[in-house]
């Protein structure tokens, strides 16, 4: 069986797929790739099913040795990768020779880079998914981020190498946005008109203490009607909740499943992968759209991802 040796883990590198559904009543959020679009495209490039497990690297990538060689693809953000000393680009399949070493540096664009390998990263699924849930130490490789010396197994792969790339035009449409489109949150009417205006007019900075659970934002505070008391309820992915401080938090893939803060807005599904590429100190804005618009934007995005000419051989 082919393997990957972790020579350097990077800042936070975890095994991720598209997450685990159906365990809400146990308090388990789906987890999965923070930028699911990049993981899906990376898998397509190496001939995997879209939901195969890959490695998600965060801000600073690692160094990986492939003793038996492999077919790989890098997607998402540019971490300045080299393969055996030669620069290697994103969004293309690459053949790694036995003993080849892939080295990544610090990001030159967004927060996350994905390493997909033909055959996928083979870990024992937990609740039907290979995703690591970092906070609770579940799933993925021993429930944790990778460390130096870890040896990962690669799933069976026998397809011959094929050079594949992603159509540049599609990449433009799928590139991460800094203006996040949102629908009204379930408690949006708890916020005064002036608070809502401030929320949509202001730029917010992503705070340092942001992670896969949530992104803390810094900017114009928004105040909910303080008279009402919120009853804890289920919170959807991408919810923008506003605690007493007035500084919004975007709940993300490893989110708590219930919460007691009012939610002013919710990031639309088509823009969730953009959230996964936000780094600390990045500036974002919010743009309100209707639910129908959000759903048609998602359908458009999925049509593009399913487009037969998306991947060129």
């Amino acid at each position: 069986m082919s393997t990957i040796e972790v020579q350097a883990p990077g800042l936070l590198t975890t095994v991720q797929d598209l997450g685990r559904d159906g365990f809400g009543p146990m308090g388990v959020s789906p987890s999965g790739a923070a930028d699911a679009v990049s993981l899906r495209l990376g898998n397509r490039l190496v001939g995997n099913a879209e939901g195969a497990a890959g490695l998600e690297m965060t801000l600073v990538g690692g160094a990986f040795r492939f003793p038996q060689g492999a077919v790989i693809a890098l997607s998402g953000s540019d971490f300045g990768a080299t393969l055996d000393g030669e620069a290697v680009g994103l969004w293309a399949s690459v053949q790694v020779q036995p003993g080849g070493i892939l080295r990544m540096g610090a990001t030159r664009s967004g927060a996350r880079c994905y390493l997909c390998v033909q055959g996928g990263i083979a870990v024992r699924p937990l609740l039907g998914s290979a995703s690591t849930h970092v906070l609770s130490g579940l799933g993925g490789f021993e429930g944790r981020a990778l460390r130096r010396g870890d040896v990962l197994r690669i799933g069976p792969a026998k397809d011959p190498f094929r050079k594949r790339t992603v159509t540049p035009r599609a990449l433009d449409s799928l590139s991460p946005r800094r203006v996040l489109r949102v629908t009204a949150g379930p408690q949006s009417d708890w916020f005064s008109e002036s608070s809502q205006r401030a929320f949509y007019a202001s730029a917010y900075r992503v705070a340092e203490e942001s992670n896969r659970m949530g992104l803390r934002l810094e900017g114009s505070p928004v105040a909910a009607d303080s008279v009402r008391e919120m009853i804890t309820e289920g919170v959807p992915l991408g919810a923008v909740q506003v605690p007493a401080s007035g500084q919004p938090i975007i709940l993300f893939v490893e989110q708590q499943t219930t919460g007691g803060y009012p939610k002013i807005a919710n990031v639309i599904s088509a823009d969730l992968h953009s959230v996964g590429q936000l780094r600390p100190r990045d500036e974002i804005r919010f743009e309100r759209v209707e639910f129908e618009t959000a759903q048609s934007l998602l359908r458009e995005q999925e049509t593009l991802i399913a487009w037969e000419k998306l991947i060129q051989e």
Binding site: G24, M26, G234, P236, L237, A239, T258, K263, I268, R299
Partner: protein, 234 residues
């Protein structure tokens, strides 16, 4: 959506995101609202709606997340109307009573003395009050295996800490308002900590994984530090 049905009277639908819907059974915490949450959850688990991905029950609401490519809000609401019309006929299973041993106070319960003082109780009285009640598991949320236990006696009800702790050890027993609960993992947390259990609240390798499930009832039994160590290594 057709004629307003009886079901429409007991529930309110709220679009939560482009891929989720909240079903509210009232705007306050009540046993009646919670029973309806449990019944709808049971129906949806027994007869899943195609395209539904996750169910998140809470005190008086159920969040339903779905695949927006397979299901829309209108279609889901129409389907739910039919389920809501059948709620009265749903039988909930007999609830299970789970006993959780707790070593109260000391380093395990750093807030116990303050909680007791706030309520003019001795620490022994505070422990007695916490250990003499039976608590329903209203739902699991926040983190895997974290059970929200309702019905904390007035004599102990205390607001959350003004500043949450950055790290609460696994097994810590906390209180917040009229709720109590056990932290399954070391996480940040703002509940006041009064003790710790040696039991594992969540273990991936165990069938069912969570020690507690929605609908269970819980009682706490005080144990000594020695017993804690015995049970922890068992």
């Amino acid at each position: 959506m057709g004629m307003p049905s009886r079901a429409a009277g007991i529930a309110r639908f709220q679009l939560a995101s482009d891929q989720s819907l909240l079903v509210y059974f009232g705007e306050t915490i009540s046993p009646e609202a919670h029973e309806r949450v449990l019944k709808l959850l049971r129906l949806l688990e027994a007869e899943p709606i195609r395209g539904v991905r996750n169910l998140h029950p809470a005190y008086s609401s159920l969040l339903i997340t779905f695949d927006a490519l397979k299901l829309g809000h209108d279609e889901l609401q129409a389907a739910l109307q039919r389920y809501l019309g059948r709620l009265d006929s749903v039988q909930l299973p007999q609830s299970r009573l789970v006993e959780i041993p707790v070593c109260y106070g000391g380093e395990f319960g750093p807030d116990l003395a303050q909680v007791a003082e706030l309520h003019n109780l001795t620490t022994e009285q505070a422990i007695g009050a916490h250990a003499s009640a039976t608590y329903p598991v209203c739902f699991l949320g926040f983190a895997p295996g974290f059970a929200y236990l309702g019905g904390l006696p007035d004599a102990l009800a205390t607001p959350r800490l003004a500043t949450p702790r950055r790290r609460v050890p696994a097994g810590s027993v906390g209180i917040a308002g009229h709720q109590t609960g056990v932290y399954p993992f070391a996480t940040p947390g703002g509940w006041r900590l009064i003790g710790r259990t040696p039991l594992e609240m969540f273990r991936a390798e165990r069938p069912g994984m969570c020690l507690l499930a929605i609908g269970d009832r819980v009682c706490f039994t005080p144990i000594s530090r020695e017993r804690f160590t015995e049970l922890e290594s068992a």
